[in-house]
């Protein structure tokens, strides 16, 4: 899609970001002048601290990624919401109180107090660095996503801008994201999401044949298909020599049987809609696909259509969209050169309800449960995508997938989670692995638990955690409404799921869009600068001073920290650009996996097991961290979305490492501890 900046959006955005930054600097400088970071926070009221929990935890990634995944695939994105919140329960009930009893604030502190060993500092420093960088990737991707529709820039511009701004802030001033700023951001994010949800409910559902730009996606037909006998299918599969016509695979939901059909090009050519066009024979990788390519005789432009239907019914031909990156690097949309300004060729916005219960075409305002009940009995148009490369370049075809509402509201529609609908237990591992990592991850993230100690006593700490869980939970309930609202808003960009929430807000109101983007953007700035500071600290304190035993005076320390910030910032920018095609929530899932695999075994054993040894901790952290990182880099998702290789060449059987690497970390730690235990 083409994104253009509007004046009001840019203005609101600029004002908002300026105020937050000014406030951060002001409060940050005051915090420094007082007795110190933690004592200054000792005066924070528990309620404010609780909302600040939400401000800390609800990064832009939760907001953008979860809404996007729900908008494109339905219920599956909500599984992340549930997992992220569950992680809090682990953190509060199991880790926070015992850790406080040790009198320590973080994982690294606790390790240090118990062993005071260089090996452990090295391992903990590297794992802090690895987790921070992995957590930075989704934040950077999210930053690019926010900048794009707001200021009309390319994704990588956004990433570079955010990276540079944060590096400048950190290097020149060192921004401490204070409790009050996080309180402000947290409450604004929750309040405006609630406003957006109320607007979604007030708008209700309306059927529409196309998106918000009034482009109507055509459906042509019916056309007759011919069954390909099973032995011929086998023959084609073996030789790879499929006929030059569309091939459609149909499923009979009643008997669960599958059959393969083809459609004669001549039958398609005879349809009145295509009198002025030529149906092209399918060559190369376009064969064995349910697509047909049609060339307009007047303009010469080629459009792509998809063929779908139910077994027993006639097949219909639906207008698809496609984007081609030619071998010369040009970008084509639907066969013509993509424009730069509104009104010029671009992919059409999508996301509509195609059928409502009782044949209505508009529901009017809906109640919170009525919303789900109505959707359950409706039909929505989701979009699938396939990438095909041919002599012209690489094309991604986006095709219509009419989907019953009951399927949208059930788990397992996302291709990565589709395994739960298969019979083989091995297919379910990716899902189980993710849910385990989310459950264990929160307590293992280095920067999350700190806030538990920033109020005056234990009772206030508990109270603020309860407020935190309440506001975070409320927000996560809203994500389901926001995602489904986006799904049916007619304004989705088929190429990018991360864009769903901002585009939903834009379809409602330009001002609201600007405010929500600004809140999300400042959240990114805060999170990114916090993470960069944490990594710089790990490099200066843990790695250089404690491990290499290099004495640094104050000035040198600051200089090393600044250099480290610039390097980490540059790495984050690079990774943010490389990983831009992945849903940000999926990336956060990975960060949680690395954190849980590297840190949780050490954290839990230190708190609950007396037999733990120094060597055991070092081995556990190292093995947990390297195995989870290696697993991610060798997974099918990284292969396809980052390296541009095929998913089949991936080395590990599923993408989420947690279910293997978390137990592996525990086993390593325990075995090594037992072996090195002093008699």
């Amino acid at each position: 899609m083409i994104y253009e900046a509007t004046f009001e959006a840019t203005a609101v955005f600029a004002v908002f970001v300026a105020i937050t930054l000014a406030l951060s600097f002001y409060l940050g400088s005051r915090a420094k002048s007082s007795k110190g970071y933690f004592t200054a926070h000792g005066e924070i009221p528990w309620f404010v601290n609780g909302i600040a929990f939400a401000g800390d935890y609800l990064s832009a990634a939760s907001f953008l990624g979860i809404c996007g995944m729900i908008a494109f695939y339905g219920y599956d994105g909500f599984l992340y919401s549930i997992g992220y919140l569950a992680g809090w329960v682990v953190a509060l009930f199991v880790i926070a109180e015992p850790l406080k009893r040790l009198g320590k604030f973080t994982f690294a502190d606790a390790l240090d107090a118990k062993f005071n060993s260089r090996g452990i500092k090295l391992a903990a420093g590297i794992s802090t660095l690895a987790v921070s960088i992995f957590y930075l990737i989704p934040q950077m991707v999210g930053a690019g996503v926010l900048i794009q529709p707001l200021l009309g820039l390319e994704h990588w511009h956004g990433v570079v801008i955010v990276g540079t701004v944060v590096i400048i802030i950190v290097v020149s001033a060192g921004m401490v994201s204070t409790t009050w700023v996080q309180f402000l951001k947290g409450s604004l994010l929750v309040i405006f999401s609630a406003v957006l949800t109320l607007m979604i409910l007030a708008r209700g559902f309306e059927t529409s044949p196309g998106g918000g730009d009034r482009h109507v996606f055509a459906s042509v037909g019916p056309v007759g298909g011919r069954l390909i006998p099973t032995e011929n299918v086998k023959q084609y599969e073996n030789s790879g020599d499929w006929p030059e016509m569309p091939v459609v695979r149909l499923e009979d939901p009643a008997t669960n049987s599958k059959s393969v059909w083809h459609v004669e090009l001549a039958d398609i050519q005879q349809l009145p809609a295509f009198y002025e066009s030529t149906v092209l024979p399918l060559e190369g990788n376009w064969r064995n696909k349910p697509f047909v390519r049609i060339q307009n005789n007047a303009t010469g432009a080629i459009t792509v259509w998809s063929i779908a239907g139910r077994q027993g019914d006639a097949l219909m031909i639906h207008e698809a969209q496609y984007r081609t990156i030619t071998s010369e690097g040009k970008e084509l949309v639907n066969g013509v050169l993509k424009g730069d300004e509104k009104g010029e060729p671009e992919l059409y916005p999508v996301g509509t309800v195609t059928r409502l219960p009782d044949g209505k075409d508009k529901t009017g305002p809906l109640g919170p449960l009525e919303f789900f009940r109505t959707l359950q009995n409706s039909e929505v148009m989701l979009w699938g995508s396939t990438t095909i490369s041919d002599s012209a370049g690489e094309s991604t075809v986006y095709f219509q997938k009419p989907t019953p509402g009951s399927h949208v509201l059930r788990p397992g529609e996302h291709p990565r989670f589709a395994g739960i609908r298969k019979k083989e237990p091995v297919e379910k591992l990716n899902f189980l692995s993710l849910m385990l990592a989310l459950f264990c991850g929160t307590a293992s993230l280095p920067h999350i638990l700190i806030r538990y100690y920033t109020v005056k006593d234990a009772q206030s700490a508990r109270k603020s955690t309860i407020v935190g869980i309440g506001s975070i939970g409320f927000f996560y309930i809203l994500t389901l409404y926001l995602g489904l609202g986006a799904m049916t808003s007619g304004s989705m960009d088929v190429t990018n799921s991360n864009m769903a929430a901002p585009l939903l807000a834009k379809s409602m109101n330009e001002w609201l869009f600007a405010i929500i983007s600004a809140i999300a953007f400042t959240t990114v700035l805060g999170t990114v600068s916090g993470l960069i500071l944490a990594s710089a600290g790990a490099v200066t304190h843990d790695l250089i001073q404690s491990v290499l035993k290099i004495e640094l005076n104050d000035q040198q320390q600051v200089r090393v920290a600044k250099i480290a910030s610039v390097v980490v910032g540059a790495v984050a920018i690079l990774l943010g650009i490389l990983f831009q095609d992945l849903n940000v929530s999926y990336l956060v899932g990975w960060a949680f996996s690395v954190a849980a695999s590297a840190n949780l075994p050490a954290l839990v054993t230190i708190l609950f097991w007396k037999g733990v040894t120094r060597q055991g901790v070092v081995a556990g952290i190292t093995v947990g961290m390297t195995s989870s990182l290696a697993w991610i880099l060798l997974s099918a998702d990284t292969f396809t979305k980052v390296y541009g290789l095929s998913a089949d060449s991936a080395i590990v059987p599923f993408s989420q490492p947690g279910i293997v690497t978390i137990p592996l970390g525990f086993v390593t730690l325990i075995v090594v501890s037992l072996l090195t235990r002093k008699p």
Binding site: L92, F93, R373, T465, I466
Partner: protein, 81 residues
């Protein structure tokens, strides 16, 4: 008294683990069950999901309330500061 708090914590954690584990296993091994609409025409996936979020809050409240009676710790911390 702190022992008592951490025992309460672990018990509540156990309860939540069962609820969360049930949700995950039901999703993984019997996704059809999640499609049933037992109440108000809303399916089990949504009801259970919302239920888990509400349960987290209820357990946290319970934790705060059970530990609240624990005065000694508060005064002890108060003296520290």
């Amino acid at each position: 008294m702190e022992k008592r708090n951490s025992r309460i914590g672990l018990v509540l954690f156990g309860i939540y683990l069962v609820l969360y584990g049930g949700f995950v296993l039901l999703n993984a091994f019997s996704p059809e069950t999640m499609e049933k609409t037992p109440m108000a025409g809303v399916n089990l996936a949504i009801l259970y999901g919302f239920g888990l979020i509400i349960a987290a809050l209820v357990l946290a409240l319970l934790y705060g309330w059970l530990c609240k009676s624990d005065d000694s710790e508060v005064t002890e911390r108060g003296v520290d500061e």
